[in-house]
């Protein structure tokens, strides 16, 4: 088993690692209504949200897997993707998993392991979709309740799969990597800081083992995750930007078409003021075939890379990223532009020009 059947990108990790040393992410939900401090009110709103987001019931393994296949990559639509991932997770309930690899071969159930890893990967991608749905400054009660419920549901689904694959983790590096990814991704929001710290430590241990064991697994996802962790942490807490960059470079070699890796490595270079390397990597990112990426990932990544190009005074390059992004948006109008709207007294919109100042144009 060389890689998970689904191309697990790990965009969730870049989100996760931006706030490794942040204050409690769960504090970011809610509204200024004092009602939010009332547990009964919160419980009521969450119950309403759970009812509101309930997916249509799907019976039978084949129908559930079909629903999963149809919607599990729809990152621009958290409702559809949520139901698709839920259907895939429910389908696994009907799929047995051998507890050791030899028995898996003997019983022709290697595919079952791959399917479990694939659906777990989809759950992890969904954490990323949810994390991107939280507002920075303000969340209304309806939306914060909805996101909370979705987050907890995704946790429950992921943990159920992890419990099934736990016995094979010592033998299957890919499973270990996904456990690490779960520990990082699931604690970005709705998690007390001490729990997030413990999850990160556990993830680091798994990633070190995975890199030693099988560096090429999942196209260098271990190096991507651990590299980002080491770049983000301060040196006095074990951070090591230079080793982090080495790992990210390995990830880029193993997976040169993944713009998420480009983003992480360009930012790491910029943090070390290695601007020439950053610019060269941006140029390489421009050559990546858009068809290789999920549409939502592509427009998000190119927006971010264009911004990094601007920070590096590479206006032409920024324009090229923007053109590519606009092209993709034009052909896929369902994709989210992530245009922020004024919130809590001010927003991205320039009051004098009326333009969204994040528009790379």
């Amino acid at each position: 088993m060389s890689r998970s059947p689904r191309h697990l990108k790990g965009t969730l990790l870049s989100t996760a690692l931006t706030c490794l040393i942040s204050l409690p992410a769960f504090a970011q939900t809610g509204s200024v209504l004092s009602d939010l401090e009332n547990p009964e009110f919160l419980a009521k709103k969450r119950a309403e949200a759970a009812e509101f987001i309930k997916c249509d019931p799907i019976d039978g393994f084949d129908a559930r897997m079909a629903a999963y296949e149809a919607g599990a990559t729809a990152k621009w639509d958290r409702a559809s993707m949520g139901c698709a991932v839920q259907a895939g997770s429910q389908a696994l309930d009907e799929m047995s998993l051998p507890t050791n690899l030899i028995w898996a071969f003997v019983t022709f159930r290697v595919d079952n392991i791959e399917k479990h890893l694939e659906v777990l990967g989809a759950n992890l991608e969904y954490f990323d979709v949810l994390a991107n749905s939280y507002a920075d400054h303000y969340e209304g009660i309806e939306k914060s309740s909805e996101l909370y419920v979705r987050w907890q549901d995704t946790r429950a689904q992921s943990e159920a799969i992890l419990a099934k694959i736990d016995p094979i983790i010592p033998k299957v590096t890919e499973a270990r990597i996904l456990r690490a990814a779960y520990n990082l991704a699931s604690t970005v929001k709705e998690t007390p800081p001490e729990e997030a710290n413990a999850a990160m430590k556990s993830a680091i241990e798994d990633l070190e083992i995975a890199i030693a064991e099988k560096p090429e697994a999942l196209d260098g996802l271990s190096q991507l995750m651990l590299g980002q962790v080491l770049v983000a942490l301060p040196p006095f807490l074990g951070g090591d930007a230079l080793r982090g960059i080495e790992l990210l470079e390995q990830a880029n070699e193993l997976n040169p078409n993944d713009l998420t890796v480009h983003r992480a490595l360009v930012e790491a270079y910029m943090g070390e003021r290695e601007d020439e390397k950053a610019i060269a990597l941006l140029q390489a990112a421009l050559e990546v075939d858009p068809a290789l990426e999920n549409g939502q990932d592509y427009v998000d990544d190119t927006k971010h890379l264009g911004g990094l190009a601007l920070r590096l005074d590479q206006g032409d390059m920024a324009t090229q990223f923007n053109d590519k992004r606009n092209e993709r948006l034009a052909s896929n109008p369902e994709l989210l532009t992530r245009k922020a709207i004024a919130s809590f007294g001010h927003g991205e919109e320039n009051p004098f020009t009326g333009k969204d100042s994040s528009d790379l144009n």
């Binding site: 040393i21 204050l23 504090a27 200024v32 303000y138 209304g140 807490l237």
Partner: protein, 459 residues
């Protein structure tokens, strides 16, 4: 060049014209201030007699001074009664707001919007979300004020340039004084105590102004900033670490000099990258705090009662009693007398050269003042929407009031109906509080806001 000359002549004409007709207008105790503001001409001074004024005031013309008269303990009191959003707002250039006691507003105590050459002086502001809040202003002076009880910053200089903050007292706020996304600022001789964090210099992502730099914090007394952070959980201010004397998060070229910084429980000074607060990155921001100069300060008793995540981080590193904590990837910073300052994370810092001193800097303001552009109605509409409406409404979800999307749907093709409602609201929905009347904004602004909301604001 032609444009500049033309602008200068307009400015001269305006100023001369104003001087010729300047008048003092007195508001009798308890009367409606807005009525007198509406009658005032540029250059006039509005004198507000001591008394209680349960109202909001909006000034949208240039060169108006509004002054609260004081008789001992009897102030001109602006009282928001916790139902009004804003105390005094001005969008007029060369405004002076002086001598008021402003209390119990939900949003802004005193605010300027896009107003250049402003002065905010000798006010006592208590219990707003933002106490004194100049936004998008160039060239301003904030002096002699006392600010307390702000759920965000007591004095919050946002997206502005060339601002002096002198001789103010800030206590009991989440942040005492703040320069946010501001260029060229000087805070000097302020007393900042008993806040969650004393002074913050920040670069916040997602705002139209994308940088913050050249900020000098000098000769201040910054002590005992340890109170519980009481910002609403949804607000970014809720993530400000408690127990910090001065926090630098994102800006470049900052100078912290000759301050007395003592008894701040987590650390005296924190220098960190923008990502510290868990904010998403803005592709157009440089998130690193570069070129911090920390010299000639007096430190004592800092870092002895560390709390929160930052405290945990410091504890994990086995440290305590820190005067300076540096996190992140900033470059080009320096610390004077490093052996005498308890610090963490400053291994790559240089020792400051004495020539970097800002001790002789007298002001950050522009000699002769800033230009005073005339804003279009459309621009005023946007500014007012951002400053006033978003205190209670967001675009796509419920805050205090319904979402702007639902309001757009309700008043589609009916701007007049919307203006009528804004001016004299009545409770429409049982599950929402009644909206406070916004008639004080005036017909022109209400038209501009309605046009903006119904025709421009979008997702």
């Amino acid at each position: 060049m032609t444009t500049k000359l033309a602008l200068s002549s307009i400015l001269c004409t305006t100023i001369l014209g104003s001087a010729a007709y300047a008048a003092d207008i007195t508001v009798p105790s308890g009367d409606e201030i807005q009525k007198y503001v509406d009658q005032a001409q540029p250059g006039d001074t509005i004198l507000v007699e001591p008394g209680v004024y349960k109202q909001s005031v909006y000034i949208d013309k240039p060169n108006i001074t509004i002054r609260g008269l004081r008789d001992g303990d009897n102030w001109a009191v602006m009282d928001g009664e916790l139902i009004r959003n804003d105390g005094i707002i001005t969008s007029g250039h060369s405004s002076t707001i002086d001598g008021f006691f402003v209390k119990a507003y939900k949003g802004n105590g005193i605010m300027t919007q896009g107003a250049n050459n402003f002065t905010i002086s000798n006010n006592y502001v208590e219990g707003a979300f933002y106490g004194i809040f100049p936004q998008y202003g160039i060239n301003g002076l904030i002096t002699g004020n006392t600010v307390s009880g702000a759920e965000d910053a007591g004095v919050y200089v946002g997206m502005s340039d060339n601002v002096d903050v002198f001789e103010n007292i800030a206590f009991g706020n989440v942040m005492g004084l703040e320069f946010e996304n501001t260029r060229n600022g000087l805070m000097a001789n302020n007393h900042v105590y008993g806040n969650s964090a004393g002074i913050t210099l920040t670069l916040i992502p997602g705002l139209p102004v994308k940088d913050a730099n050249n900020l000098v914090i000098r000769d201040n007394l910054i002590e005992d900033n340890n109170i519980e952070n009481f910002a609403p959980a949804s607000s970014i201010a809720s993530q400000v670490p408690r127990g910090i004397g001065i926090g630098i998060v994102g800006p470049d070229k900052t100078t912290i000099e000759n301050n007395e910084i003592k008894n701040n429980g987590t650390a005296g000074i924190l220098v960190a990258d923008q990502t510290l607060f868990g904010m998403s990155t803005d592709p157009k921001n440089d998130p690193y705090s570069d070129e911090a100069i920390i010299m000639a300060n007096t430190f004592s008793g800092n870092g002895e009662d560390m709390t929160g995540i930052l405290g945990d981080l410091i504890k994990q590193a086995g440290a305590s009693g820190l005067d300076v904590v540096a996190l992140g990837k900033g470059r080009g910073s320096c610390l004077a007398n490093p052996d005498e300052v308890a610090s963490l994370g400053t291994d790559r810092w240089e020792t400051c050269d004495p020539s970097l001193s800002a001790a002789e800097m007298k002001t950050a303001m522009i000699p002769g003042g800033a230009e005073e552009p005339v804003y279009t109605a459309e621009q005023k509409g946007r500014l007012t929407y951002l400053a006033v409406c978003t205190g209670c409404h967001t675009y796509d979800s419920v805050l205090h009031g319904p979402s702007m999307q639902s309001i757009q749907a309700l008043y589609k093709d009916n701007a007049d109906g919307m203006i009528e409602y804004i001016s004299e609201p009545v409770r429409k929905r049982e599950d929402f509080p009644e909206m406070p009347p916004q008639a004080y904004l005036g017909e022109e602004n209400l038209n501009a806001i309605a046009d903006y909301i119904l025709n421009e604001l979008g997702g």
